[in-house]
Amino acid sequence: LLFNSLQYLVFLPTVFLLYWLLPHRVRVPLLLVASYVFYMSWKPIYGLLIAGLTLSNFFLVKFIASDEARKKVWLGVVIAVNLITLGVFKYAAFSMDTVRDGLGLFAVNWREPHLHIILPLGISFFVFEFIHYAFEVYRGKPTVKSLTEFSLFASFFPTQIAGPIKRYQDFIPQLSIPIKFKWEYLDEGMQLILLGLSKKVLIADNLSTVVQAGFSHPEHFSSIDLWLITYAFAFQIFFDFAGYTDIARGSAMLFGYKVPINFNLPYIAANVSDFWHRWHISLSTWLRDYLFIPLGGSRGTKWFTYRNLFITMTLGGLWHGAAMHFLAWGAYQGILLILHREYSTLLEKVGLAKTLLQSKIYHWVSVIVTFQLVCIGWVLFRADNWKITCDMLTKMAQAPYDLLHFSAQQLSVLQIRDPSIFPALVLILPALMIAQFVIGWLNGRRFYQSPPWVVQVGAMVAMMCLLTIFSPDSSPRFIYFQF
């Protein structure tokens, strides 16, 4: 099932009603069954995959806890089981293609076997949850005693397909607390679901039309157009994924469970390191805890730390998909993080006035520069092939010159009047950016944290009306479902 599908509108209320009507002892099994129904409605056979991985991890991790002498070996086994599964389903075809292309460079014509493998939805997310569990038990945390609870941790339908990547210490304890229905669960949950759907249907899906046009035919657009289109993609992917996360969190909240946030106003980050504290938080902290730190983290020389950063981010890029452009995007993020560290060290060495570094002007300039750097990365992430990537980046590099000779006639986005999202970009993009700052400012205010009843109800009514009017026959899939 997909969150933005009709089926989910039937599935969710049904499970919600059953959950609160039944006694506490059967609620976890009910959610487990519902989660498997949710997953198997796509491809029933893949229910066996998630069940098999759950059983393997549940029993193998027990050896990590019980066999102190060989716990490292058992950790290796658990990680291998998970990574091999992920590798077969996600990276086998990519590996074969890479080998074929590599051999082709030496004039060796090898026809790779055609693998009919369909990527199981959400595999990257639940495999990472299993690895997290194994690592934590290896580090001395307790194992999960109940197979039912562990199975639900892995398959919990709100977070099953695209996260957030949960931590078992946060999630499992919530399952055993007997709770009574509170209207606030419904209010908070539905508010989040409506907000998430609005982000997806009203913003991300509309921007997708512009992004599709620009990234498929960059030759029709000027350098400034391409920057605008890249900004549009930056907001498309943000609202798409943040919308998904809101629906996931809202769905979990309907059952009284808390799922952590995944985004924290990423485009007001003042540097790349800050960006990764705000973007896909559950992935970035996972990469830090279970890849960067095990690699040695920053416990060594500067170059050792940089090596670890680069490997972590490059593999993080590859996690997004079996394609070279994701690898390049990850490597680019690694290089940015390394450069940021070097830059910070340099500033300290030069002894630049602290007052300058702490000034508001420096902060705003940093935010703008960081956003541009992140957007350059999004070109690597989104472009379908190297030719388009190169064409776009080359053209975008001409923007300073074009800005000096700017005229509105240069902007193709102003010439395409249908759909009106094209010309509206010049209004929407600044508005979305300013909204990030305003929300950042409002976050600490009581009015925003707990708005008046009328405001909350009015916002929900407005979202329901807009979603009813503009609900498309088939909304595009969430971008992160492919990962």
């Binding site: 209010d187 039309t209 498929s216 029709h220 946030i261 902290t285 395409i416 909350q456 009514v461």
Partner: protein, 421 residues
Amino acid sequence: VGDTTTYSELSGIKTRDMSGTQKDLRFAAAFLAFVLICQLIARSHMVQIDPLAGTRRTWTTWALHDFLRVNSGAPDVVFLGSSLMLTPINMADAQALHATFDGALHHESNWFEAVVKEKTGSDISTFNFALPGEMPSDAFLIEKDVLKAEKTPKVIVYGVGPRDFMDNLLASPSSTDPYHWLAKLDSSDSEWEFCGQDWYQKLNCAVANAFMPNRVRLQLAEDVTARTATLVDAVVPAPSGGYVFTPQQKHLMMPGYHSMDVVLGECLFEPRVDIHAGRFVNNLDEYRGRYAHPDWDKFQTQLTFLAKTLSLANQRHIQFVLVAMPITDVNRGLISDQAWGAYKNGLGALARSKNAVYLDLNKSADFTDFDFGDTVHLNALGGIKMVKQLAELTVADPRLSEALGLKRNKPKFVTKGVAVL
């Protein structure tokens, strides 16, 4: 990366207050208000429903505009079908009459009229309501809501192909362009039938319609979009003298956006100097996708719509000609024998039971691969043959000729088109 902040701390999971003591029923209040607003909009006639009021022009709205606003009275013969019917009729006219026709505006079959005239001496009028992607569900809506009262034709000729019943690329009967516009004309709350096959879709449809009828929702979306566009035009006007994108470029850049929109001059049907010189387009990959794993619920749904179309024709005393359109052998080869059998048997049985005239052009030896522009669409050569066969059938079949009041003449008519043949 690199610091020691925990995920829980970053995400605020530990600090978030979820004590849940407030019983303020925010969602319940919002939902109630939403239902009231929907009912108010649906019942107050605040929304003026008119499929032709907007500025958007698709194949469907051009045809509707011509039929309802330009032409008066009813044509004698109406053609229904998908592009399988639209393309050869227009190409035949262009070729046989040596004229160029704009697909957006040309809604007759002049060649059909000419052949009937040549055979009988009678003048008859035609209207071509064949539209790209038209399914039997759309044909039913056209017949039900457009071909009625003083606009009722004497004869309907409906050309169908296997794609009309087994198209995997179509989500539900309500996801076609014709439905989008025709649903606004349909006030009989029959949307339920168009919701799709599975009970999820039907339930959702029932709930959605209970809040706001689909025709109101579609019109509201259209109005809001148009007002938004007007506002954007006022705030961000188009700069003069810039690059102007052609409709083809826009379709290429945005393949999923308003793909059935068509502007004047975008799709011209022109006569060829050498009728045999047309390029053959191999569209097998597209049809592999359409035919793969036949969905029998979808098949049955569309067959049911065809049955309803035939029944309605009987009720309205319209003579019906059901035509199984020819396709190439390679395209036929993509369809399993079971699916092909179900399709052919279904058409034959329906035509018999509803007393319709049935013409199976797949059995005709007249059509060879040279008559096709791709694996399913007839080209000008094939179009001329097909329309001629239809006209000859109309003259020869007593039910049709009687309905149209035709007499039989001796052949005396020669056009440039025939000379080409």
